[in-house]
């Protein structure tokens, strides 16, 4: 196994008001997490279209994580409630198609939870690293 060689690509969608601020706080507190995680800022987790997640896998991502405000704390009051439903159904469907359920995750991270952000990312990267390369949702053309 070439576990040590494999550097996963991880896309993290973070809502502007909680999780992106949480990531900033992790930075402020110099809490390390792997550089494989790249954050995309969205106004709210509810902005994340399932198409973006599939797009990330197509383009070579090995894991996609979506972070938003805790339910009940959404800056827009209800955005993350919709996210929760959409992603629950999407993840179940992807798994139904045989896509490893570990590849996708939703995590609620508040602006105060810098430590949780770092811990979550460490955990997620470890999980994806253990899982290996995304083969089931890859687009070979992109890797050429």
């Amino acid at each position: 196994m070439q576990m040590t060689e494999f550097k996963p690509k991880i896309v993290a969608f973070c809502c502007n008001w909680c999780s992106y601020a949480g990531a900033d706080l992790a930075g402020n507190n110099r809490l390390n997490y792997p550089a494989e995680v790249k954050i995309i800022r969205v106004p709210c987790s509810c902005r994340v279209n399932p198409m973006f997640i599939l797009r990330a896998f197509q383009r070579g991502a090995d894991g996609v994580i979506l972070c938003g405000c805790h339910p009940g704390d959404c800056h827009y009051t209800s955005g993350n409630y919709y996210t929760r439903r959409r992603m629950a159904l999407l993840f179940s469907m992807l798994n139904f198609l045989g896509i490893e359920k570990e590849r996708t995750r939703v995590e609620w991270v508040s602006a105060a939870e810098g430590a949780k952000f770092a811990a979550t990312m460490n955990d997620f990267v470890a999980q994806i690293t253990a899982l290996g390369e995304n083969k089931r949702l890859e687009d070979l053309r992109c890797k050429k």
Binding site: K9, V11, N16, Y20, A21, A23, D24, A26, G27, N28, R30, L31, N32, Y33, A35, K38, I39, I40, R41, V42, P43, C44, C46, R47, V48, N49, P50, M51, F52, R55, A56, R59, G60, A61, G72, D73, H75, Y76, T77, S78, G79, Y82, R86, A118, C142
Partner: protein
């Protein structure tokens, strides 16, 4: 294609310590659209900003990417810089290579590689940016307060004092609300009428306040700064401007058997009535359900006795349309119905009453003239049992009652107990409670006085059953602390009924597109940070319609809501957030999915005629986003199946370009 400038900040060693900034600037130079890529010690410094300014001018840049600290830190700074150089401020993107890179990674190689990728993503995004301009809408400098209780009155007074006209719409013939029905207020025991009625009068006399009593809101259209509201003025069959409130008609009216709702139907009034002596406006109203003249056309006594000739049996409901810039919901509360709680025998015995009824019994203007007499036989009660939490704090699985704490009951029960013992020291007073909650200034002291000074028997435990036996009420209860069953022979049982939002709140919320929680309390825009605003811009919340509150809390929230309204009305124009949703009419299905997920009611539909590609014309229902109301969350963009709905500044194409750049 854009002409993009890339500016990589060292942030002293904050970034440069872990990221090879020169290598980043060099690597990003060859990205599509980039015409200049450079680095500098502190981009946010004046010198750094000047450098960006110059670069924009010299290279005719159409977009810039700053690789620096978090956009939460300096996005605004660099937007201003761009604007000063003639670039649209929304053509700026920030790659966060400090908080999300140099500060969390230790290895220079890894940090540099990631910084390049983050820069690439920002470039990919800015390549698809479009200049954005915030929309402006004028503000109608007038507020509407819905509900004329203490919350509404206080909000209206504060707004009016700031110089803005306010209308109060109240469904009852008089303002005053629940507070007008109270006898004394806790914890000071001052008389409710004494502190409320001066405010009512002040409101009535205020040059900026118009009271629309006996009126209802029928329809609300528009958005923040520009609401159009239809108000129905119900016919009161008395000319409001002529009636002097002398009350002669209310004495002469032959229809004497009308239950008096002000006294909770514990006595009667006439068909023409003034709810109470200090009513505002002090004008008589004919109750069409009981007036013989209106029902049969035979009577007319009131018209005959009215010296002012104010009676007009032909009056009709009147619809008026008014414009407002802000709306305050202050619809208040009601005690819940006691019907489902028949274990307390509320419907079986007149001597089982609610706390509000108790207030009226104790009130000098009440049905008993302020004497505490049993409703059944007018006798003096000697043993009184107060039951707390009737319908409050129920289990989620219970078939009745509310899950929440009604918040005010502990205190008013203590007040009732104390007042009873004070006036009638010969009565035994029991209070059954689950917990006594007294978190408020002088609240706990107040409750302790009831126990310690006034000898009220506080029993931790619930009353299981009240059974009328003869003229007694047999109360079965448990004392949890003593772990024993109690049987009390009571003369009067007072139920501290839970409170719930007024029934008018739900239809009002629909009209306002304001959201409500499962209990029909209005939801605030943010539970901590925006407690008096509803998520719908321009709609504010005052008083118990947002959640149970006592009077001081209500008054302070009313003032806070007023301050928000004043802040809004003080503006001539509202500048919106330009990162708002927009719908492509050609792709829109008109399916309402977006409308349903919009927390702000920013989406409306119009039916328009379209010339279709196959040269036919078709009427199509399409969504339109009100940019003044949209807050830019993007929920609609995902709900939209066709992709007609997109979010400016966070367009699908932009986010996907970022994804592509990151996964490369």
């Amino acid at each position: 294609m854009q002409r993009i400038g890339v500016f990589v900040c060292h942030c002293g060693t904050n970034i440069a310590g872990t990221v090879d900034v020169k290598a980043v600037a060099e690597a990003l130079r060859y990205e599509p659209g980039v015409v200049i890529s450079t680095e500098y010690q502190y981009m946010c410094s004046q010198a750094g900003q000047d450098m960006i300014h110059e670069a924009i001018r010299e290279n005719n840049l159409t977009g810039i990417v700053v690789c620096s600290c978090s956009p939460r830190m300096h996005e605004a700074t660099f937007r201003k810089t761009a604007q000063s150089a003639g670039l649209n401020p929304y053509m700026v993107e920030i790659a966060n290579i400090r908080e999300q890179c140099s500060w969390v990674h230790k290895d220079m190689e890894i940090g540099t590689e990631k910084a390049i990728i983050l820069g690439r993503a920002a470039i990919a995004k800015v390549n698809l940016n479009a200049p954005l301009t915030p929309g402006e809408t004028p503000v109608t400098k007038r507020a509407l307060v819905i509900g004329g209780g203490i919350a509404g009155i206080q909000t209206a007074l504060d707004i009016a004092d700031a110089g803005f006209p306010v209308d109060i719409v109240e469904t009852k013939p008089t303002i005053g609300g629940k507070m007008a029905q109270l006898d004394k207020t806790f914890p000071t025991l001052d008389c409710a009428a004494c502190i409320l009625t001066p405010k009512m009068v002040e409101a009535a006399q205020h040059e900026n306040i118009r009271i629309l009593s006996y009126s209802e809101v029928q329809d609300i259209k528009g958005f923040v700064g520009n609401f159009t509201v239809q108000i129905k003025k119900k016919a009161r069959y008395v000319k409001e401007d002529i009636c002097t409130g002398c009350g002669l008609c209310t004495e002469k009216c032959p229809q004497k058997k009308v239950p008096n709702e002000f006294n909770l139907e514990m006595d009667n009034r006439r068909a023409i009535y003034i709810p109470f002596a200090q009513a505002v406006p002090k004008v008589a109203t004919i109750d069409p359900n009981y007036c013989t003249m209106l029902k049969t056309g035979k009577c007319g006594v009131c018209a005959k006795v009215c010296t002012a000739k104010a009676i007009d049996y032909t009056q009709k409901d009147e619809i008026m349309e008014e414009k407002y810039g802000a709306i305050v919901a202050a619809t208040g509360f009601n005690p819940i119905s006691m019907k489902p709680f028949d274990e307390y025998a509320y419907s079986q015995s007149k001597d089982v009453i609610t706390s509000l009824e108790f207030e009226r019994l104790m009130n000098a203007a009440g049905p008993t003239g302020g004497k505490l007499l049993r409703p059944s036989d007018g006798k003096h009660p000697h043993t009184i049992v107060f039951v707390q939490c009737v319908g409050s704090r129920c289990s989620a699985h219970a078939s009745k009652g509310k899950e929440y704490c009604s918040k005010i009951c502990c205190m008013y029960t203590a007040k009732h107990a104390m007042l009873t013992r004070d006036k009638y020291p010969d009565t035994d007073v029991y209070v059954f409670y689950i917990d006594v909650r007294t978190p408020g200034k002088n609240f706990d002291e107040f409750y302790r006085r009831a126990v310690e000074e006034y000898g009220v028997h506080y029993v931790k435990g619930m009353v299981g059953k009240v059974s009328p036996e003869g003229d007694k009420l047999m109360v079965q209860a448990s004392d949890l602390l003593a772990d024993k069953q109690l049987h009390i022979e009571a003369d009067l049982v007072v139920l501290a009924a839970a409170i719930e939002p007024d029934m008018s709140a739900r239809p009002l919320a629909t009209m306002l597109t304001a959201s409500m929680d499962t209990n029909d309390f209005f939801t605030e825009a943010h539970p901590k940070l925006r407690p008096v605003e509803s998520p719908t811009a321009g709609v504010f919340l005052s008083g118990a319609c947002q959640g149970p509150k006592d009077i001081p809390e209500t008054v302070s929230q009313a003032g806070a809501a007023a301050a928000k309204v004043i802040g809004l009305l003080a503006k001539d124009k509202l500048k919106g957030n330009p990162c708002v949703a927009g719908s492509d009419e050609w792709m829109c299905n008109g399916c309402s999915s977006c409308e349903r997920v919009c927390p702000y009611g920013a989406i409306t539909y119009v039916t328009k005629e379209f010339r279709m590609p196959d040269r036919t014309t078709a009427l199509r229902r399409v969504a339109q986003v009100n940019e003044a109301v949209c807050q830019g969350c993007g929920a609609c963009t995902v709900a939209c199946p066709s992709g007609a709905m997109d979010l400016k500044g966070f367009a699908s194409s932009q986010i996907m370009a970022e994804v592509d750049a990151i996964c490369k």
